[in-house]
Symmetry: C2
Subunit: 327 residues, 2 copies
DNA sequence: GGGGTTTTTGCTCGATTTGAGCATTTCTCC
DNA sequence: GGAGAAATGCTCAAATCGAGCAAAAACCCC
């Protein structure tokens, strides 16, 4: 049980930081992506972690994002550390360290506005480009019924043993809400991993060194970045329910409809407007400013602001998300 | 935004794995600890991660736990990656790598029974030894009212600026449920971090190279291991509410009272027996086996088993935990 | 073998929360 | 000035939650 470390004997390790940076633009949740090294596919911003100069991961991350993009991150949270062999091979090769193992610590960062970027290398993209099956705001996406569900059913059927077939069916049913099971927006990561295993995303074939299969869902990303993005989306979808992190994505003042559109964009399904407001009211997260917003069409809405200290005793810590039964 | 890695220029990094391994014994949640290197204080099991032989972190962890303790881990989940400068200095020194930065990936592992261990170096300890203020099963612990709350209030008062004082008060009030705020068992990590900042745990003085202060709460651990343990406890307390992970800690057959005692031991507060059963019933996680348990005193209870596939449509994914108002 | 104790198990009841819909107000646009 | 759009206000039934009462089934001790 005692550690016996001989760093000389261990293989080389390079530690990097990957950031999933979300910002809202017109009530739509966007993610910051760059052009990948191996050409073509978008990638997440990646920066090396230098143990000499960075006292903590988070300090390193903030510094590097500031330097590269020119803006300051608000909320930052560690997501997961990715260390499977084979990942980031092109990065390691580029660094002249083919033998090094690249480990990256994934971070989620939130920032209020999708600001213009210093360089032209990075751009904001709506997350739904990468996970079209996750956006149920206009009802269940056709791609689910028409492509994904049949493909997953036949993947489950492919399993040899009857036991494994049943296990696959169960997993498909629970993650993709088949046969009346409830759709859980927080399982976005589970769904991506299942699609990867079933070979329905382009990354699956690529990582096996094969040609892409007949079905490739959503926009692919470099390395395992789409998995990291799915982790971030799942985490954010869960987090907004028990911490008021949405307000890290709003401007200082906003209308309640704007806030609702933003939450809907994160959760991926429409909310019941009145019940959403009732819940907001009970939680006491926002207060009216008295000022109105001049908008196109319709009665003008009051601008609200986030009130940080909810000093009442038994209040909620996050938003309740009153979903509608039929999306 | 492009990665420019020059591994030669970066400082040395050693990656290790820390495991928080929980097991239930007589309905009590125990954690596996070893003797630390710097003498005296208990430590979490630690193993080096070798990029040459371990394809993934999880495989490395399972292998190493099997080799060291002789048993197989059931459920495994990554917790957090700890990389602040200054941690694990003694480990690095021992390895002849004083200049290396030690990063460790923390894992949570669950295993059904607190089995006897191969070596004598490790032992099972109830988690409450490390966090006595977290155990509310017999009512609110005296240490909270008598020691912690006064100490935190005076810590808040110490702040110079009135603004900072108010911020400290708010934080204390929300994490430690002062003035009628609700106690949230999942905030165990927040509470530990607050106590650390306020200098009320032995680690705080030790890390600053000072002598221990007048108040040192709970059993201290080596390095930042108590923080890792707090992370694990918080994660487990949250997880049981939306995934049936408790059953990774139960034997194959158990009585409902045994299951309840275990959940109480994890959550740290007593549950309403009838409502707990009603919720279990609705979720459909367990089924009776018909066999009875012969117990000392009282009506014998039926033995139950976990049913993995909950095939009903709209059912819950975790246990609901019906707490009692006055602990 | 009978009363007391302990534990399991079944049931009820009111308060609160949740999901959903209707109605009214207050703007802009044509 | 009327139609349409969006915000806002209110009601209602179903489901859930927190809490307590009571019966059943074993054991203990005398």
């Amino acid at each position: 049980m005692k550690p016996e470390i001989d760093p000389g004997a261990l293989g080389r390790v390079v530690v990097g930081l990957n950031a999933v940076i979300f910002a809202a633009d017109e009530g739509e949740l966007n993610v910051l992506v760059t052009e990948s090294l191996d050409g073509g596919q978008p990638a997440l911003p990646f920066g090396p972690f230098d143990p000499e100069t960075h006292r903590t991961f988070e300090i390193g991350l903030r510094e590097w994002v500031r330097g590269q993009t020119g803006f300051e991150l608000g909320y930052v949270e560690q997501l997961y550390t990715f260390g499977d062999r084979g990942r980031e091979a092109p990065v390691a090769a580029l660094a002249g360290a083919e033998d090094a193992r690249v480990i990256s610590v994934g971070y989620l960062g939130l920032t209020p506005e999708a600001r213009a970027l210093k360089g032209a290398e990075a751009r904001w993209v709506a997350w739904s480009r990468f996970f079209p099956w996750e956006d149920h705001r206009d009802g269940k996406p056709a791609i689910l019924s028409e492509v994904i569900e049949p493909a997953l059913r036949s993947w489950a059927d492919e399993a040899a043993a009857p036991g494994r077939r049943a296990a696959r069916y169960d997993r498909v049913r629970l993650t993709f809400a088949l046969d009346g099971a409830p759709w859980s927006e927080e399982r976005a990561l589970d769904r991506y991993e299942l699609l990867y295993e079933a070979g329905l995303v382009a990354e699956a074939a690529r990582d096996r060194g094969e040609a892409a299969g007949p079905v490739t869902l959503g926009q692919a990303m470099a390395s395992d970045h789409r998995r990291i993005l799915a982790t971030a989306l799942s985490r954010l979808r869960g987090k907004i329910k028990y911490r008021p992190v949405v307000f890290e994505l709003t401007p200082a003042e906003f209308t309640l409809s704007h806030l609702q559109r933003l939450v809907e964009s994160i959760a991926g399904f429409p909310l019941h407007k009145q019940n959403f407001r009732r819940a907001l009211d009970r939680a006491g997260f926002v207060e009216g400013t008295g000022r109105m917003e001049a908008k196109t069409g319709g009665r003008p809405a009051e601008l609200h602001r986030f009130v940080r200290a909810t000093l009442r005793s038994g209040d909620a810590l996050g938003l309740s998300i009153p979903r509608l039964k039929d999306g």
